[in-house]
Point group: C2
DNA sequence: TAATTAATCACCCTTTTAGGGTGATTTTTT
DNA sequence: AAAAAATCACCCTAAAAGGGTGATTAATTA
């Protein structure tokens, strides 16, 4: 039989912390095994709590939530970290995920949804608030009205992979001079004059 | 007052197509305005349907769903495309999103959830099945046990941006020779001997 | 504390690459 | 028919890349 899901909450606001703790602990199948007000507090004892899921706030005193993630994952490699915050900035989201967070919920999420997300993350899912999902999806979407032609985009992608002109020529079965010609046109269209600037421009405008 | 959400379904399997059409159309606030068996079929008439949301299958006869997305967006720039498919391959998901899809659901999604997702996408959300969300989140996560040091990772990132040794040296306020030294160590650790191979390795192993 | 790793810099060397200029030809697409 | 895209050619110079073989000084970890 499945044992209860063990949860630790790291959140500095007492009201929110106790509110979530009460709500989640009251739910069948969920145990809130510990709560902490900061990462520094948590670091000392959390390993002994062996939680399955950590609910982590971002705006914490001392070490912030984002930086806490890799440290927590080091202490508890099997544990899932679920971010629960008011922030919806793209940078924070991507940094949190890059650092090993398994999900990202905003605090306006209904508590039933939070409880559900804890289970999802435990079962290997990746819960996100819909507004977060929107940002994530947007980050994948390329600019549909690129000034570059197909071939130019293709070549710019290869430049983004660090390939030289001659490598690109070999990859595309075209002449080195043709590649040069395309790159020149790319530079004119993007108004740049180096690979680095072209890549920067391309990423800014989501051309690649 | 809000008018009903207009939906078009493009799906080649008759049973599935009619099933979804019936289910969604029966829901208060949702109108299925048209259904098509392929993009080629749809292309002729879909503009006149002016749907708000298109439910799109990937495995279609003729033009596949992925390639159909940009064409549909061109015909109906304001319209949202929601992918509904059995495929869960990373490549397909990312290509679909890159091509302009606003959400990605797998066909095992309960119909109530599909109906809800249509509304979400209409309201600017980004619905995803939880298994899809997991893949998407995983794609953001970096390898926590990189063989590279912090500085090496930092330099590899700049190489990934197409920067030259001297540019990197300027960016980091260190000597050109120090950059060289780091790059040499990166090459040794990754067992490569060119920028392109280093970037490839780094991306494969999610080091950057 | 001793040993290892990380980060810094130096100078040897050759080949490749990048970027600018200025063309042309042939497909495609509009 | 005109415009855009894709192809190739040859001029040029400076910069960059990659390999080798060192050393010194922090940090960090065993």
């Amino acid at each position: 039989m499945n044992r209860n899901i063990r949860i630790t909450i790291i959140e500095d606001d007492e009201t929110i912390r106790n509110g979530y703790a009460y709500l989640i602990d009251a739910t069948e199948g969920y145990d809130v095994v510990s709560t902490y007000v900061s990462f520094d507090e948590a670091a000392k004892k959390i390993a002994a709590d062996h939680p399955d899921v950590i609910l982590l706030d971002i705006e914490l005193p001392g070490v912030n939530g984002i930086d806490a993630i890799p440290k927590l994952k080091k202490l508890l490699p099997q544990c899932f970290v679920l971010i629960l915050t008011v922030y919806e900035s793209e940078k924070l989201i991507f940094n949190a995920l890059a650092n090993g967070a398994s999900g990202y919920l905003t605090k306006n999420t209904p508590s039933a949804k939070i409880v559900e997300s804890i289970k999802e993350v435990k079962e290997g899912g990746g819960p996100m608030s819909i507004n977060i999902a929107k940002l994530v999806i947007k980050s994948f979407q390329k600019n549909q009205e690129s000034p570059l032609s197909k071939r130019e985009t293709q070549i710019l992608e290869l430049i983004g992979e660090g390939k030289s002109r001659s490598q690109i020529a070999r990859d595309l079965f075209i002449d080195l001079e043709t590649v040069r010609s395309h790159i020149k046109n790319i530079y004119i269209k993007l108004d740049v004059n180096s690979r680095a600037d072209a890549i920067k421009m391309a990423k800014q405008n989501k051309l690649i």
